[in-house]
């Protein structure tokens, strides 16, 4: 399991983090628990037990976070799509177990599309 390349990671004020995947034009807002798991992965810790120890989280929360990270396409698993599908199902189960969705995906339009397009007159004066 390895982290996807080319991601921009920024902290969120609640202790979580935001992972911007510009290639997919989407972002993922991680809750603090999932952010802890992400940071452990960044440091090379990949086993559930080790992550749980390093972060102080319950193992099932770590599993839920890993499943959601993989489901969001942020992890590259060598086991292929069957594992991804399994993890997606596991995410649902684990998420229900911890009672929390750990990652919220935000599909962002390109900045140009998101730009509030003023009419021509405003474009001249709304400097």
């Amino acid at each position: 399991m390895k982290l996807k390349n080319g991601l921009v990671v920024e902290g969120l004020p609640d202790g979580g983090c935001l992972i911007v995947d510009e290639s997919e034009k989407q972002s993922h807002a991680l809750r603090p628990e999932a952010a802890s798991v992400w940071h452990s992965l960044e440091q090379g810790t990949v086993e559930v037990g080790e992550i749980a120890t390093a972060t102080g989280l319950e193992a099932e929360v770590v599993e839920a976070a890993l499943a959601e990270l993989e489901g969001a396409g942020l992890l590259e698993s060598e086991a292929g799509s069957s594992r991804r599908e399994w993890l997606a199902r596991a995410a649902t189960v684990a998420g229900a177990a911890v009672g929390l969705k750990l990652i919220e995906t935000v599909v962002t339009p390109s900045p140009a599309a998101a730009q509030s397009l003023p009419d021509e007159q405003d474009a001249q004066t709304d400097n």
């Binding site: 935001l18 919220e104 339009p109 004066t125 400097n127």
Partner: protein, 388 residues
């Protein structure tokens, strides 16, 4: 007292709920932000927020996190924060490319508006960078346009040298990229100054070097940044109904932290620029939203200034007052097209006017003018405080 102040509040000032939101979003004491948030939730008025006021939600979210507030009702705010922040990541990538091209061409770009506030705020994601507002010296304009056009940006209006000289900025677009608003005069209002070159020298003379996205750029002196927000904030054409107040508060706080909040020079500058009436009106609004933020002596001094007839007329035309006669709207619409022309060039501007309108896709016939005015009146009604 409060009721009296409310009755006397000009119609373009923010609504009650917008004031609450601004005070919560800008509260230095995070506990105050928490209290205001609970009041807003209890009143059920958050759903009535108009688009521009909703842009304050990411800033409010940051303050609420600092206050330790949590709960499911924060979810929309968290989402708004994440959206703004991720959009800004992409916008900064595009900004870096544009700035890099300018710097490599020997141009010293000055950051304005969203970019300038982003440079102040570092990695914070509370303020959406809507477009890339940059200013270059007039003698570097040709080089700057060439550098951006090499990068695929294209001016959307006439690029004839004469047309550019007569305006204050030009908009450049590139597919899938935010617009670059390239200024050589700070704002349309200041382009009306009797000597825009001298007015701009005031700003360039006190510009401050900064490093933004790893590039050496310039920013306005914080008090000039405040001046720019004040001059622009109360304009009828401005789309920023509440956001400019948060920006002004933020810039003023930054100026205080840097110990450069020099009100004396601000008063002198706005007088020399002929915008003391507009500045006074905007500062009154800022002081209403954030009581005590403006020294009373500054308000009194600006109030006592001698406002020229031209300044009064321009304020009448530009202020965001809702109830105005139709004739004034027609005059304003026509004047707004001419406002980018220098007064000294007025005769030639009048001669070129039909061509100017056609070139820019503006109104070209009385029917279109009527439609244009009707639309702008409707928009103003919709933006008015208390509008549904």
């Amino acid at each position: 007292m409060a009721a009296e102040a409310s009755r006397r509040r000009p119609s373009w000032w923010p609504s009650e709920i917008e004031v609450e939101l601004l005070r919560g979003a800008c509260a230095q004491d995070a506990g105050v932000a928490g209290e205001i948030w609970r009041r807003l939730v209890a009143s059920g008025s958050l759903g009535a927020l108009r688009g521009d006021a909703a842009r304050l939600l990411p800033l409010l979210y940051e303050r609420l996190c600092a206050a330790g507030v949590n709960g499911t009702e924060l979810q929309p705010l968290r989402r708004a924060y994440a959206e703004v922040r991720s959009l800004n990541v992409a916008t900064r990538t595009q900004a870096r490319e544009a700035l890099q091209r300018l710097v490599a061409s020997g141009v010293s770009p000055m950051l304005l508006k969203g970019l300038a506030i982003d440079a102040m705020a570092g990695e914070r994601g509370t303020r959406r960078i809507g477009d890339l507002d940059l200013m270059v010296r007039h003698d570097q304009l040709g080089v700057a346009l060439g550098a951006l056009e090499e990068g695929g940006w294209h001016a959307t209006d006439s690029s004839e040298p004469g047309a550019l000289v007569a305006k204050h900025s030009t908009c450049l677009r590139r597919p899938d990229t935010v617009e670059v608003d390239l200024h050589w005069v700070l704002s349309g209002r200041l382009a009306l100054h009797r000597d825009p070159g001298a007015a701009m020298a005031l700003f360039w003379g006190r510009a401050r070097p900064a490093v933004y996205l790893g590039l050496e750029v310039l920013t306005l002196h914080p008090m000039h940044q405040l001046l720019h927000l004040l001059v622009h904030g109360a304009l009828v054409e401005s789309r920023a109904t509440a956001r400019w107040l948060a920006d002004a508060w933020f810039v003023l706080r930054h100026a205080r932290e840097c110990e450069v909040a020099d009100w004396r020079s601000l008063v002198d500058d706005v007088r020399s620029l002929g915008v003391s009436l507009q500045t006074w009106a905007a500062l009154r609004c800022l002081d209403y939203v954030f009581p005590g933020v403006v020294p009373p002596a500054v308000l009194a001094e600006l109030r006592a200034s001698r406002w020229s007839l031209a300044e009064r007329l321009l304020w009448l035309l530009d202020s965001r007052t809702v109830r105005q006669p139709l004739a004034l709207d027609v005059v304003r619409t026509l004047r707004s097209h001419l406002s980018n022309q220098r007064f000294r060039a007025l005769p030639s501007a009048l001669l070129l006017y039909p061509r100017y309108l056609t070139a820019n896709g503006y109104v070209v016939s009385p029917v279109q003018l009527a439609r244009h005015v009707a639309r702008r009146r409707r928009e103003r009604r919709e933006r008015a405080p208390g509008a549904a």
